[in-house]
């Protein structure tokens, strides 16, 4: 299932980065991203996601290991890497005073497009990202979603082969987030390789064909979202036992019905157990609980999500929210 190293759009091997006083930001990062796919770097704050992107986008030099982006070495040939990539960082890196069109034209000129080509490109990108109506308004009046779309448009001026998105939906409302997700999907469909970092499990699940789970500067697990979930095991049944009922007795009944060892959480008065057979097992359990006279408050079948993967494979729970 692993990406063939020779034609990987992004290939990192044993990349290390050490910041004086802060310790290792990257401690042997390995990454191989197939062309034309959306690959997620998922991890908690401080896992090294942003450092990885900054090294691959040639903003920061690596201390050890090697990395190639679009076939060019980031350490020895950063100029050629820069000509092939687009970067959208955590903050929309836009000029707030200028209009969307002026931003696009300015960055297009800095990509060394001639004046007329820059104007045409700006117009085409404004149309593609549905920003024509606001094209001549200052960016500081844009909504968060519009800003992100413009930021994406700017990062695509050169028709990048590889696009780096550092937490593309942080701080966006759900509607804006969907807009950005759609834009990312369209990009991948048109052949762009996208590497995105995220703290949002849902985002990685919905967008990425493969995910590298990062913790403390290295990849601790890699695979498709369903592969990662499969590593945690199948679905689990959860039963909430009403107050006043014997937890151990209930666990016994559940164990007998499911032929599996249950886990008991006395504080929440919940019993959970792995289950095979889906809805059939639910029916069996319902009969068992009924026969035992145990009126459960809540019975649910829960499929594992990336949260479970995360808890299982990293040091602690993922912290959603602000920060890098």
């Amino acid at each position: 299932m692993s990406t063939d190293r020779r034609d990987a759009a992004i290939l990192a091997e044993g990349v290390r980065k050490h910041y004086p006083g802060r310790g290792a930001a990257l401690d042997g990062l390995d990454l191989a991203v197939a062309p034309g796919t959306v690959h997620g770097l998922l991890g908690p704050n401080g896992a090294g996601k942003t450092t990885a992107v900054r090294i691959l986008a040639t903003l920061v030099r690596l201390d050890g290991g090697s990395a190639r982006v679009a076939g060019c070495d980031v350490a020895s040939d950063p100029a050629r890497v820069r000509a092939r990539i687009g970067l959208a960082g955590q903050h929309a890196a836009l000029d707030e005073v200028l209009s969307g069109r002026q931003n696009l034209e300015m960055f297009a000129r800095l990509h060394h497009l001639r004046a007329r080509a820059a104007r045409r490109r700006a117009g085409a990108l404004l149309e593609r990202f549905d920003l024509e109506a606001a094209a001549d308004r200052p960016v500081r009046n844009y909504s968060g979603g519009m800003r992100r779309r413009l930021d994406l448009a700017v990062s695509l001026i050169r028709g990048a082969d590889v696009l780096f998105l550092d937490e593309p939906s942080t701080g966006l409302d759900p509607r804006s987030r969907n807009e950005v997700w759609n834009a990312v999907r369209e990009l991948a469909a048109s052949g762009t390789t996208v590497l995105l970092t995220t703290q949002y499990l849902e985002e990685a699940d919905r967008l990425c064909s493969r995910i590298s789970l990062m913790d403390r500067g290295r990849v601790v697990a890699e695979g498709s979202p369903s592969e990662l979930k499969a590593r945690v095991g199948g679905s689990r049944l959860e039963v909430a036992v009403p107050a006043g009922r014997d937890l151990a007795a209930a666990a016994g009944s559940i164990s007998a019905a499911l032929c599996a060892a249950p886990e008991i959480d006395p504080a929440a008065r919940r019993i959970s157990a792995p289950v095979r057979g889906g809805v059939g097992a639910l029916g069996r359990l319902a009969r068992t609980l009924d026969e035992a006279g145990l009126q459960a408050d809540d019975v649910s079948l829960r499929r594992p999500d990336l949260d479970d993967v995360f808890l299982r494979l990293t040091a602690g729970p993922i912290r959603e929210g602000k920060g890098r």
């Binding site: 986008a57 970067l87 955590q90 903050h91 200028l98 002026q102 300015m106 960055f107 800095l110 085409a124």
Partner: protein
Amino acid sequence: MSAPTVVAASRSSRLAWAAADTWVVARRHLWHLLRRPDELLGTLMIPVLAVAMFGFVFGDALGAAMAVPGTEYREFLLPGLFALTMAFGIGNTTIATAADVRGGVLDRMRSLPMSPVAFLAGRSLADVLVALVELAILMGLGVLFGWQWHSGPGPVLAALALLILLRAACSWVGILLGLLVSGPEAAMKYFALVFPLAMVADTVVPTHLMPGWLAGPAGWNPLSATVVAIRDLFGNPAGPSASWVADHAVPMAVAWPLAITALCLPLALARLRGLAR
């Protein structure tokens, strides 16, 4: 939609591209001026208020101390305020540069195939062009307040060139500081430090009226050389020549800004390269 082809930059055309990139960056800052003219007014507020305060509130008193009438003090004052305005530009440059570092605009530019020097040089070029506008407005106001030049177009242009040279040097100081401070808020906190630089100089009060321990440093303040030189070039009254610098004002008004630029420009470039560490 196909991506545009890009003109390949050969080694020989790299300088031309650096110049083109510089102009693109400079034009960005000039667009700011057109879109937010109130920022220019904010910058001019200090010198304009200074004309009113020093020229009229303290004017007669300072004039009396110098044994000249208040009107003549205002002739003395205006060249000082021109140079002071150039020095206050450090604040704007620092804050704007720090904001570009913080906001990610610098990172984006560093990820482009553009010349990284252009990010700095464009800022400096824009500062100089904006300074021309500021000087035109200030000189117009000066004339309203009773200031005028008493020399031909040659010396007046030379005086303007010295002021622009000073602004260019201040711009590189601001760029370096902007790359060093932790953010635009920190830059604003340090802004007050421009005041001693601007006041402990032959700008508002003639150095011979300062305490002796202050007069020495004030004379060696880079602003003093420019101010003494342009007072002479405009044909405006000056305080009694009291220092070696004042006796060699024109060469020093060239040497100081060049020395400051020669110090700050390479440091700023090194800092820019150091960001990749």
